[in-house]
Amino acid sequence: MMLYVVRRILYAVPIALSVGLVCFLLVHIAPGDPINAIVPPDAPQAVVEQVKHAYGLDRPLPVQFAIWLGHVLQGDLGRSLATGRPVWEDLRGAVANTLRLAVVASLLGFLAGVVLGGLSGVFRGRWIDRAATTIAVAGVSVPHYWLGMVLVITFSVTFNVLPAMGAGPDDVAGWSWDWAHIQHLVLPAVTLAVIPAGIITRAIRGVVSEILSQDFIGTLRGKGLRGRTIAYHVVINAAPQVLAVMGLQLGYLMGGSILVETVFSWPGTGFLLNSAIFQRDIPVLQGTILVLAIFFVLVNLAVDLMQTLLDPRISRA
């Protein structure tokens, strides 16, 4: 088993490196010369050459990548072109905010998904199933930025019970789990929760009804086990697949939703990415994308290992 864990971790390394390569290349794939983001278009050639040399943009690509990789591994993600501050400073706070939002939204979404999915899986074909499925499909289909705006209009503007933007009162720095801050979390979390709720409902519905149609359920009934015990068997059987879907949904949410964070002005990575794109702030873009992508690789790894732990049929060789 340990060998399996080590193997999976080893496999994650080339994936992470490839991710890094793509992030690095993003700058050069984007249209336009990256130098134009740094230097005004009418700058004299000598200045342009100087800046190029300072940023290492005159070296061959593989060398640039190696240098960049070296910095990244030491924790230096470069400096923001817009603010001049180290990228990691701004990114740290943004990642924390996004994580808070993602975790709360995930929990809400999972709860809703488990309830709706469980009901429709057990009562497949009946009206509960149809109702739950409709809700799930609606959740996945509705554009979530539109939903966000609708919620803002309803709860912030019309009824004025919840704030429309930001992550806390303006005069307080940082986060704490008090109502003053949590009230800012409610609307964006609900908005974000709708998609994982829909996906998990569908996933659980499929898994549960597939398990209920299997032969061993008949054996369990034949042993005289009661409904409670049979439900427990179903849950344990469903867990590997369902937890995998949940893990991936959490990974997506951790990537931050540019649209929802922008609608609510939630100062997370999505918001950061949004402004970086408009400002063509390459180092911030690179750093943010890299961190988010590495997060996703780690979540995938965790999901893989967890599935193997839970399902004895997966080979642990």
Partner: protein, 354 residues
């Protein structure tokens, strides 16, 4: 539009003559590597599954050779090797004296002469094609014009007992298991092959349907001049249709010979135990002890020497050391057992001729 001459696709005539075996199999081997452990160069490979481990036999023209054995013996893998659905790890297969590939027959030429019928009749058919289209498919691939192919399909449906007008336009899910298996047989005949490999063709069918399909196979063999390789775990069925039988155990040949002789007086203890395991239809002759206990050993690490020695009642120390070769046990009858090999060291073995 270019006109392509339509091939008539008759049965390819005999090349080697009646004495030449239709199929010559020598030391055929197929190993499957086990996955796991660290990737090289960090770790080393974890061993192999010796699914087929050096089998040799001849298939004579016009005969039905039955291959029997239990799960894990390698009979299904053997059928797929012969059908060229997978490549052997070692050994060779000659068809009518010619190798397959490597300068001999091309795969296309080979497949025109060798066809296969599988156990799962539903999984063998494309659910989106009508059965007439399924049967007509292969001839068209080999150059026959569509009209001719469909005509042949209808003829074959009639030959297997399905009325073409009624059944030709149906889809596989609209037929019963027995009917589908007839369709598979018709499809196997579409290229007028010389050899048909039947891999458990009747195992999934009810007894009454099984009888119909077996009768059909016997009739078709005469009408179409076929040779059969019949793989089954059902000893009664194999006895009924085969001329000779080959018994496999853990990837090797245990015994091969005329079916009557082997069923009456098996030379290999495993064959004897297998035959003895058939449930008796006579309640007066019930037994109290099973002829063989335990499960088959692992094909990953087979026992040393004779692979059967761990379960054999007649095993002696020499059996765990020496691998018995296939030795003559009677006219046209061979068994891989030290009891049959003169001078092998087993107390039951015949003495060496002076």
């Amino acid at each position: 539009m270019k006109t392509v001459p339509s091939e008539r696709l008759d049965q390819i005539p005999d090349v080697g003559g009646p004495a030449q075996p239709l199929l010559t199999v020598r030391d055929l081997t197929r190993h499957f590597a086990l996955k796991g452990g660290l990737p090289t160069p960090f770790g080393k490979p974890r061993g192999v599954i010796r699914a087929v481990d050096g089998i040799s036999f001849d298939l004579r023209k016009g005969e039905t050779l039955g291959i029997v054995g239990e799960s894990g013996c390698g009979k299904s893998t053997t059928s797929r090797l012969i059908m060229s659905l997978m490549q052997p790890t070692g050994g060779e297969i000659l068809f009518d004296g010619q190798p397959i590939g490597h300068g001999g027959l091309t795969l296309k030429e080979y497949r025109r002469q060798v066809q296969m019928v599988f156990q799962d009749s539903y999984a063998s058919l494309n659910p989106r094609l009508t059965i007439a289209e399924s049967i007509a498919f292969a001839p068209q691939v080999h150059g026959m014009a569509r009209r001719g192919a469909v005509t042949r399909a209808r003829e074959l449906l009639a030959a297997v007992g399905l009325e073409p007008g009624q059944f030709g336009g149906r889809y596989p899910h609209e037929l019963s298991g027995g009917q589908r298996q007839r369709v598979n047989i018709a499809r196997a005949l579409a290229l007028r092959p010389r050899l048909i490999i039947l891999d458990e063709p009747v195992s999934a069918l009810d007894k009454s349907v099984e009888a119909q399909v077996l009768n059909l196979l016997l009739d078709l063999k005469e009408d179409f001049g076929l040779t059969y390789l019949f793989i089954s775990h059902d000893l009664g069925v194999v006895h009924h249709v085969s001329d000779r039988v080959l018994v496999m155990y853990l990837g090797q040949v245990a015994e091969i010979g005329p079916v009557e002789r082997i069923y009456a007086d098996a030379a290999h203890p495993y064959t004897a135990a297998l035959l003895d395991s058939r449930p008796s239809m006579d309640p007066a002759r019930r037994r109290t002890e099973p002829p063989l206990t335990g499960d088959s050993p692992n094909p990953i690490n087979p026992p040393s020497g004779c692979r059967f020695h761990t379960r054999c009642q007649l095993a002696e120390p020499v059996c765990s050391r020496d691998v018995p070769p296939l030795a003559p046990a009677g006219p046209d009858h061979q068994a891989a057992c030290l009891m049959v090999l003169s001078g092998s060291g087993h107390t039951q073995a015949p003495a060496l001729a002076a």
